[in-house]
Amino acid sequence: MPNFIDRRLNPKDKSLSNRQRFLRRARVELKRSVHEQIKAGKIVDVDAGHSVPFPIDGTSEPSFQTDRSTGRREHVLPGNRDFISGDRLPKPGQGGGTGAGKGAASEGDMEDDFRFVLSREEVLDLFFEDLELPDMIKSSLKEAVTFKPRRAGFTIAGSPTNINVGRTMRNSFGRRIALQRPKQAAVDALAEEIAKLEEKDPKPGSAPFKRLEELRREMEVLERRRKVVAYIDPVDIRFNRFEPMPLPNANAVMFCLMDVSGSMGEREKDLAKRFFVLLHLFLKRRYDRIDIVFIRHTHQAHEVDEETFFRSTQSGGTVVSTALEEMQRIILDRYPSRDWNIYAAQASDGDNLAGDSDHCVNLLNNELMKLCQYYAYVEILDERESAIFRSTDNGTSLWRSYRLVGENWRNFQMTRIAKPGDIYPVFRQLFAKQSTAAKNS
């Protein structure tokens, strides 16, 4: 009988740590592939596994290898059909590997077309590396904790609602045994005996009378003792103890505000969408639950579903403040800021009704910025304009007004994008570890 061992239940991922070492090693190259893919591909697909080409840089394992294109070799091959010695065979291809050498095709030759799949977590790690919430947001995140009481043992003081009956009765029982509190049964038995004797009504001085007296005294002792040793004494009482546990606020709501008036075309909407998706993805890494509220506006604002938000157009003027008012209303209505981390991203082409921009600034300064963890304003430019506007602080009326807000609130960021390639850098800039964004705004 040999030694059989069933290893199937052993942990499977023995190579996992080696895989992680490999990914760490190839980090730079993998990151580049992932970034290229995300830039070029659909952003909604980001949240999944990615297949990437095998990284070569930094993961090569060199050794002394003979050069195939030099010297003289002899190969022995099977399956000769009609060659005789002295025959000449043309070499397949020129310069490269020899036909006979094909047998030795090793990993090195295969790696060119070899792609492997990174898991979703690995992709996001590569993608969001060094992308952290700005410090200020982190600190305000800490403030935004809520407390939840959590059971933490027992205590001798507390409110009556927290009495732990089981524990209290246990203590009481122990104490009663220890102090020998007379049981009810014993008292009852004594009382019955006394009643029986009293029925007979013995004469004073007779033996039963003495016995009755004796019993009555005994009864008195018992009752006194029962009174002194209470059934439940304050020392028995135990309360459930609760400790307030700080809970990081795990809910976030993300407001997407967009101008959908005629001036916003497909291109602008697409750019805006990409930005929103990226923001959503980013928040998803931080929070357990994220609600998204879509508010579109022309000269009036509505909360709509995602499909309508991105697809349908509406004609009308542009009054940005309506969207802000709608957002404020929804926050007050459904998302109290003590329970929710509120993020807002606004996309617009910068048009606004004359005079409304000041109203927006007031709304933001006085109301909304107090509620929001972060407010990002993205202005979508025409590609031709981008060259002009990128470098200057001039711009649309909305841009100029928002700059005033940006000066007051550190968690207000604004930037301009013109083409899909811009989005990711801009996103990084907005959420960069250091607030480099401040210089641009």
Partner: protein, 516 residues
Amino acid sequence: MSKSARPSDLLFHGSDWSFATLSRTYDAIKEIALDDLGLDCYPNQLEIISSEQMLDAYSSNGMPLIYQHWSFGKHFVYEDYLYRKGRRGLAYEIVINSNPCISYLMEENTMALQALVTAHAAFGHNHFFKNNYLFRQWTDASAILDYMEFAKGYVTRCEERYGFAEVESILDAAHTLMDQAVFRYRRPPRISSAKEQARARERLEYEERVFSDLWRTLPHSKQSSDPDEEERDAQERKKSLNLPEENLLYFLEKNSLILEPWQREILRIVRIVAQYFYPQRQTKVMNEGCATFVHYTIMNMLFDKGRISEGHLLEMLHSHSNVVFQPGFDDPRYSGLNPYALGFGMMQDIERICMTPTSEDRDWFPEFAGNGDWRATLLDAWANHRDESFLLQYLSPALIRKMRLFALDDEAKENHYKVASIHNERGYEKVRSSLARNYDLGMIQPNIQVVDVDLLGNRQLRLQHTVREGIVLSESTRDATLRHVRRLWGYDVSLVGVEGNSDRVIYETSTDKLSG
């Protein structure tokens, strides 16, 4: 045991396996293997694993445990990719040269396959590991698992103490020299795993104790201009350092100018692992041939005894013929000579020559043709040869004809191959010796040795590549590898390519001339 094939004699029915049928089958196989074939095996330990675990085992060179390094992760990713794409199936088994001999059986295998694999790995490979002279001399089966355990723990402790990056860079450099990290001729000292840890500590303590800074302050000897004296000095220096040295890692471990004791210990670990696998690389054809021949023979004997049903035998033969399939050189499926096919073909051929030789066989193999004892002949061949010598001694004209082997002359400068010899009277010898040379690791791998060290001057380490047949090293990997050698040596390293028979220098390179 009854000779008639009654259903009750069958070892198993259907395709599902259980530990009861595995055990019953094992016992039946063992009886034939030990009593009939006369195999001599280590005790067996059979482990059932899943496909994920098989992939894990692939990435760690088939060892059940190995130190951690990214390159194993890379291999895992690669194997995993091939497997998931369906480009490559998984092996039915992996067997480890250890005592007890560990064989991994895949859980997906049917019972028939488990029987085949048990005979193949637990008896064929096992016997080969225990008896082949290379394994007996160069590996220590009873110590290897303990040693790997030690190595893994040691590397982990180093990572904790000196950081991942430090350990990784040493391992990277050491891995590049794995092919040059074996003793080919000198027998290495046997490793005794139990004492290994204590020795590592002792070595360290000793080196700390005998270190004396005074030696550094000694005045340099006077420069002598006498060429004779210089020559004598060089001779003496080489003698004291045991030069030339073929085992580069060994040399660096002992003589590197900058390595810390723990770094030397890591070089030692890599070197010992390389040495452990060296015999396997030299006996691929024989090892697989032996195991395939054993499983084929045992399965047929079991069938003859009525212990296996026809259906199961057919299933086994199907797998068997897949394993020994050898497409011709012009077949799209061709990827080199299949060691299973070549090895199994030769073993069967030896059996035939022993039992029913032709006159040609008698001419070629007078020592054993017709001796009627193929068992002893094979046991002897398995014990005393490696691929190169085995091919050279036992490849028969009959098999050359059967496989239609031919030799191609490949001069890199020409734009055509020349057919050097084919399977005819004039060609047998040449085909045979060419093939044998192709299995000689000493011929395939570049011969690079440490020849000199300038300890008093600029401390340059001089390596020499003896160039055979004009085959030089591929430059990109050569330079990258040299940089790693420099990392371990601490000072510049030069490599000279010298033509084997004329001492003509073909190329020369040095790390101080390499950029980066």
